[in-house]
């Protein structure tokens, strides 16, 4: 590693002198670790006159839970702020330090804790460390004949710990579940430095569920260093289905019927009228792709039953396997594309993933899309909101909005971006939707999160005050 340059870096190394790779404090590394992939950061960097000053003072790479626990104890004594870091691909500013830089800020990169510690093929449970990258984890499990079933489009550039911290979802979540469905138990470190483990039985009646307390805490309540997760045997069979449907609402009715009949295809992606027209070139109606996987006979049955249920509905047309196969072949490509638009001055591009119950989905969809008119009335400029629906449950699903716009000449792009987000969040809250389905809260949605949760957010703040009284762990994130 590079030579240390600051007294802080040298002090940290002197405390962990058995590990020469423990700390870095050079200018470039500090700048890299000063932000995540929140598009607002990208806008500011794009339009800045000079490279931005680093917002953090040093980065450390612990190699074990024990070393990290020791570090946390020392940080408490020294008043060092701590930012847990996986791969830095969060899009809500969860890892972008804000507020006055009063105390030393240290980023803790967990990527040296990147092993599959154990795999029980009988129970189909693996213990996985937080720092492993998603794709590496999946390849390592595949080599043993298993899959995690968690395939976010960021799989090449996101970490397992990030999935835990943000309650992430993969593209096949309708079959394998979101990360909170996949996790059996957690290992972590409290802000005091104490190591904890949540119970690992598949179901239990032993008080409140600690997993749900820590999952989604985004680095504010300590570290999540490992988790026991459900794994599945690699799928024997994969079936591809595609449909053209007359309207979004008719398609949602059909999908609801599948889910409530007990069918769980791995992938269901429904593109609304605007997205079907602008990105898929459809002249009318909407596009729906569906992929079923699993054991040979179960997948065959699921696929044929889905076809049967769907094709007896008016306005549904079977478009064959090809559209679904095409989506499968290009399922991660979207992650390469965002910057193509963001490289233009004044452009903004972001995504907003909300969730609600079936009966509220169409209304939530309509109301969020009305933000286009509100923002145009306020600022002018150009704004487009596309949407697809990609994660479904017995009682409801999510809507994934893609927001693309250009700020007018007389408004700073970052201000325009903030204004668009304010309108989006207000529309979602008004309809009672969850302001995030799987990206998390970060700094972007902190105020909306606090407003929506009311007394429960205040309760969370009290818990935070109790277990992290100096607010050393990712201060200001989640509005805490």
């Amino acid at each position: 590693m590079k030579d240390l340059v600051s007294p802080l870096g040298k002090e940290i190394l002197s405390l962990f002198q058995w590990d020469s790779d423990f700390v870095a404090d050079d200018l470039y590394t500090r700048r890299v670790y000063s932000k995540d992939l929140w598009p607002r950061n990208l806008i500011l960097a794009r339009e800045a006159e000079l490279p931005q000053e680093p917002a953090v003072d040093a980065i450390i790479w612990p190699s074990s839970t024990k070393d990290l626990s020791k570090f946390v104890e020392i940080a408490n004594q020294k008043n060092w702020e701590i930012f847990a870091y996986g791969a830095g691909s969060g899009v809500c500013g969860g890892l972008t330090p804000t507020g006055e830089h009063r105390r030393p800020r240290l980023v803790v990169d967990l990527k040296r804790m990147d092993k599959i510690e154990s795999l029980d093929p009988v129970s189909q449970v693996a213990k996985v460390q937080a720092g492993i990258l998603g794709q590496v984890l999946e390849e390592d499990l595949n080599a043993k004949g298993f899959t995690l079933g968690h395939f976010p489009s960021s799989i090449y550039c996101s970490s397992f710990g990030g999935y835990l911290a943000t309650r992430a979802a993969g593209q096949l979540s309708t079959y394998y579940g979101k990360i909170e469905d996949i996790v059996l138990a957690l290992e972590g470190i409290l802000p005091s430095g104490e190591i904890f483990q949540t119970p690992d039985a598949p179901r239990m009646a032993v008080g409140p569920d600690w997993n749900h307390f820590f999952l989604g805490s985004e680095g504010t309540l300590g570290f999540l260093t490992a988790a026991w997760v459900k794994v599945h045997k690699l799928a024997e069979n994969r079936r591809f289905l595609s449909f053209h449907v007359e309207s979004t609402e008719k398609a949602l009715d059909g999908i609801r019927e599948w889910l409530q009949a007990g069918l769980h295809p791995a992938v269901i992606r429904l593109y609304d009228e605007d997205e079907s027209r602008m990105l898929m070139g459809l002249k009318g109606g909407v596009k729906l792709v569906c992929i079923v996987e699993g054991d040979q006979e179960i997948a065959d049955f699921t696929a044929s039953y889905i076809s049967k249920l769907s094709l007896r509905r008016a306005g549904w047309v079977d478009t064959g396997e090809e559209p679904a196969q095409h989506w499968w072949a290009h399922r991660y490509d979207v992650s390469y594309r965002q910057q193509q638009i963001m490289s233009h001055r004044r452009m903004i591009l972001d995504t907003f993933e909300v969730a609600t119950q079936w009966s509220k989905l169409p209304q939530l969809h309509r109301e969020v899309k009305k933000v286009v008119g509100q923002v145009k009335d306020l600022h002018g400029g150009m704004l487009v909101i596309l949407a697809h629906f990609s994660h479904f449950y017995h009682c409801g699903g999510n809507i994934y909005f893609t927001i693309c716009g250009a700020s007018p000449q007389d408004v700073a792009t970052a201000d325009y971006y903030d204004s668009v987000w304010k309108a989006l969040l207000e529309a979602c809250i008004k309809q009672g939707g969850a302001v995030s389905h799987h990206h998390g809260i970060g700094r972007l949605k902190a105020q909306a999160f606090a407003k929506q949760r009311g007394v429960l957010h205040e309760t969370l703040r009290r818990i935070k005050n109790e277990i992290d009284p100096k607010h050393l762990f990712n201060p200001e994130n989640l509005g805490l």
Binding site: K2, L27, Y28, P51, K144, S154, Y156, Q338, Q339, Q340
Partner: protein, 355 residues
């Protein structure tokens, strides 16, 4: 000035980049070619994965070049020029990132060119003296020669039958300046002098694929510089290895020059095109990302990389009996990191023949 800035900004946008991509592969080797996506190249990079720092992902390293192009000083970008160079050197040249990039941005070549600028600016006085020494050692050669790796002449002389098969008069140890650290520019400037020194040679066999790379690059740049015919030893003997029955625990350590770098840069490798490379043969292949090459600059990182790649070999539960390695540098390197037998490929070929 505003108009010029607007035009410049437009030229850097994706519409323009996409149009250029359609017409020019060369553009992939420009810092502007990177779209700065959310680092989909990260997990493919052996140095980023080994050192686990976000500061040396392929996209991160490209951003250093980009900032320089935008006019920022080394001090602004990374504190100082030496520090900036350290980040640029964290690249083995393997090109995996290019394989995973939908835009096929050639990060490794961009970084190599930028590194060379730094070393040229450092005015490394020792190089010139050693280059003159190299020329003197080449001037005495004539006829059909085999340039072997340092320390390998005695092996070739012991196996004189192989030299006879190649119709070569003598095996000569030559330590060519093929490592990129400061030599990249020099080799293209000095190739004419090397060619002049070798004017009495009619055929040159090269044992090292890395030396082959050095010659290939120079010859492509100036086809008239060398009058002798140049061949690689590797294709002459590979068929012997393919013909031998190989046990399941056999792992072949590839030369990234042959399998990644040269094809990526557009050099024709007939064996590659005919499907005769090791991975085409269905062998278990260890591709270490070019540590043999990289270790000359960053030994500690290279050691960590080897440990990582060796660890990966056992992930699917198979038992490894032996690693056969195509690069002599990698043999030495891997032997320090594993208790498994590591055999140089020519030793394996000759032993196989004798069996």
């Amino acid at each position: 000035m505003k108009l010029i800035q607007n035009i410049s900004s437009t030229l850097k946008t994706w519409v323009f980049k996409n149009k250029v991509f359609k017409f020019s592969k060369r553009y992939r080797r420009d810092p502007q070619a990177c779209f700065y996506c959310p680092e989909m190249c990260r997990f493919s990079c052996p140095t980023a994965e080994t050192l686990r720092t976000n500061a040396i992902t392929p996209r991160g390293k490209m951003s250093l070049l980009h900032l320089t192009e935008r006019g920022y000083s080394d001090e602004n970008v990374a504190g100082d020029s030496v520090s900036r160079q350290w980040f640029l050197e964290q690249c083995t040249g393997c090109g995996r990132c290019t394989e995973y990039c939908v835009h096929e941005v050639d990060v490794a070549s961009n970084l190599r060119e930028e590194r060379n600028k730094f070393w040229q600016a450092q005015n490394r006085s020792g190089l010139e003296g050693s280059f003159q020494g190299l020329l003197r050692s080449l001037e005495v050669l004539s006829g059909r020669v085999l340039f072997c790796e340092p320390g390998r002449a005695s092996w070739w002389n012991k196996n004189a039958r192989l030299l006879k098969d190649l119709q070569v008069d003598q095996a000569v140890e030559v330590d060519f300046p093929h490592r990129e650290w400061g030599w990249g520019k020099l080799q293209s400037e000095k190739l004419a002098e090397i060619g002049k020194a070798l004017k009495k040679c009619e055929l040159i066999y090269l044992e090292s694929p890395e030396v082959g790379w050095f010659f290939a690059k120079g010859l492509k740049a100036d086809g008239k510089a060398l009058s002798a015919e140049v061949r690689l030893v590797w294709p002459q003997f590979f068929k012997l290895m393919v013909g031998a029955p190989l046990p399941p625990g056999f792992v072949f350590h590839e030369s990234f020059h042959l399998t990644r770098l040269l094809p990526r840069l557009g050099y024709s490798i007939p064996m590659y095109e005919r499907g005769q490379m090791p991975f085409h043969s269905g062998w278990n292949v260890l591709d270490c990302g070019g540590e043999g090459f990289y270790r000359h600059a960053h030994l500690e990182t290279a050691k960590k990389m080897a440990t990582r790649f060796l660890g990966d070999l056992g992930k699917d539960g198979r038992k490894i009996d032996k690693i056969v390695c195509q690069s002599l540098a990698c043999v030495e390197h891997l032997r320090q990191e594993t208790s498994l037998p590591v055999v140089y490929w020519l030793d394996e070929v000759v032993d196989g023949r004798q069996r």
